[in-house]
Amino acid sequence: MSETKGRGAARTGERGTSDEGRRRSEAGMGRWVGPGSREASTAPLLEVDGLTVRLRVEGAQRAVLRDVSLAVRPGEALGLVGESGSGKSMTARAIDRLLPRGAEVSGQIRFDGADVMTLAGAGLRGYRNGVAMIFQDPRAHVNPVRRIGDFMTEALRTNLDVPAGEAYRRAADMLGQVGIDDGERRLRQYPHELSGGMLQRVMIAAALLTEPKLLLADEPTTALDVTTQAEVMAILDDLRREFGLAMLFITHDLELAAAICDRTAVMYAGQIVEVRESALLHDDPLHPYTAALAAARPDIAQTAHRLAAIPGRPLSAFEAPEDECAFAPRCPHARDICREATPELIGLDGGLSRCARAADLRGRLRPELAEGGQSDD
């Protein structure tokens, strides 16, 4: 069920670079070849395999993530898209071992070949040095009574034993890279003296300072206003490519993920329902849910008489039925087969889809079609 098992370890070429990442995404625009014939398939940097997380909700252990499998290769950006409660952030927290107490976890997470779930103490700290996280709300994720300089250099000074002077110099340089010119002065300021967009750029700079291999970006622009969003996204994207970092980019914005990421995984109710080359996700989805999401996005060119919506309401993972397709109750294409068992994630046209009728529906899920008729036959 893991996508990496299918296409994976056959060839271990050279490690991915940012250039390769760019080439790959450009190649994806024009021609997309199947997983078997994929060029330069390197061993994944991060591999999540069959991750299931159960949490205590209203007195019972309920699954909030079900059988989540994904892989991020070095230098690659993978988008993780879904509604609120679909489990995107929970996936990131599981990867960073930040799950709430009492969480029951099964499945495997491997980073650079090491089993993340069994790390502890210094090993865990070392792993976390290699994985930087950028949070949704920068203001909440910085100690408000410490100066920016303290915040940015702390990891360098305490974890990597970089001398303070050197750490501050690097921090000021990095601020320049994220487009903050008067770095020296900013380092002496307190978080409350910076605007939200500025602070998020500081967070990005701080995340890059420790030279991680993987960035976990959990809706990094959601708390910013629209003009700042574009700026911060551009900086994040540029630097990621420049440093050759892999990124797991979490967002609820399908278009944004498509613009930034090489591949995008769509989550619904704690499951991954589709993984697809980003360029193809919007126009040629494999799963009815992705199609419905794409159709629900209003078109800026025309005034909609009525905004398209997915019938029903989004389910949290723990509300979703266990033994049928989680999206079936809201799906215009649902048939009896959908209610018989939870569909497996199957490979199709270079992507993966968790839809029992995926092959049936091939070519019938384009957004312009899904918009018009709620049923296909």
């Binding site: 960073d96 930040l98 107490r101 700290r125 070392g126 792993y127 976390r128 040095n129 994985v131 930087a132 996280m133 949070f135 709300d137 909440a140 994720h141 910085v142 100690n143 408000p144 009574v145 410490r146 702390e154 990891a155 305490t158 974890n159 307190y190 003296e193 701080a206 420790t210």
Partner: protein
């Protein structure tokens, strides 16, 4: 062409946090701090200031009232009361200081460990603290005196143990709140160690509360230590100590010579009030800032 106009930037108050903290406590707070400062100076250099020997008795002068050179007169053994007050400041201030430091260090440590680990560790620490709550400080001090012999060290240690749960309980709440702040998770994700997060972030951020606790506890400790010395289980005569002075000069009160006992009592009251006022102001400030 154009001249650069320097931007006015808001600067964090210079001169450290202590001054900033104090400035917010108002006139009463500053006056209290002045009293405490004066007492501290006396405690440090007090014995040298004493114009007469604080321990050499002269029974011929017992309970003689104030004269020109002897501002507060003589005590029951004919020693200069002012000299004894000055010399006694040291043990009277040092005792509570030791109690407060002991209680704060252990209390903060336990509170932060409980807040950091939560779960089982927190449960064990919290219920142990509840058990300790059952023992009044004076009772522990009497016990300690019986086991280890009377004296300031035994009394101070037992009071430190008795006060520690109060510190730990208040700080555990504050530390728990701080622990759940997203920035702590962010630090964890950066690979910071638990010790480093606790010492560099959580403890400094609950520091105003620690300072407030310290000042309030100091007052209590002073009264309790004076009581223990009064009972004869603390500082041993003839060493000068305010609690001891009240104890030994109480015979003068029914005889019409209340000054020696009252002078020592007044010193204690003044300092306890000063610490309480300052502590309360600091606590209000710490709460208000939250």
């Amino acid at each position: 062409m154009s001249t650069a106009i320097p931007l006015v930037t808001v600067q964090a108050p210079r001169g450290g946090r202590a001054v900033g903290l104090l400035r917010g406590t108002g006139a009463a707070g500053i006056a209290s701090a002045a009293v405490i400062l004066a007492a501290t100076v006396v405690a440090v250099v007090g014995p040298a200031l004493a114009p007469f020997s604080p321990t050499l008795p002269n029974l011929a002068l017992a309970f003689v009232g104030p004269t020109g050179a002897h501002l507060f007169g003589f005590d029951y053994e004919g020693r200069d009361v002012l000299s004894r007050l000055l010399a006694g400041a040291q043990s009277s201030m040092l005792g509570p200081l030791a109690v407060v430091i002991g209680a704060l260090v252990i209390g903060t440590l336990l509170a932060v460990i409980a807040a950091w680990r939560r779960g089982m560790v927190d449960a064990v620490i919290s219920s142990s603290l509840d058990i300790l709550f059952a023992f009044p400080g004076i009772l522990l001090a009497v016990l300690a005196a019986a086991v280890f012999g009377a004296g300031l060290p035994a009394a101070s240690i037992s009071l430190a143990i008795a006060y520690m749960p109060y510190v730990a309980r208040v700080l555990r709440g504050a530390a728990l709140k701080e622990r759940s702040q997203p920035y702590v998770a962010a630090l964890e994700v950066q690979g910071a160690s638990a010790t480093s997060i606790c010492l560099r972030h959580i403890v400094p951020n609950v520091m105003p509360l620690i300072v407030a606790q310290a000042t309030i506890l100091f007052g209590y400790a002073m009264v309790d230590l004076a009581a223990i010395s009064f009972l004869g289980l603390g500082v041993q005569p003839p060493a000068a100590n305010w609690g001891v002075m009240i104890s030994e000069n109480q015979v003068g009160i029914p005889q019409g010579y209340p000054l020696p006992a009252l002078a020592a009592g007044a010193c204690i009251v003044a300092i306890v009030i000063a610490f309480n006022v300052l502590g309360e102001r600091l606590f209000e400030q710490a709460q208000g800032a939250r």
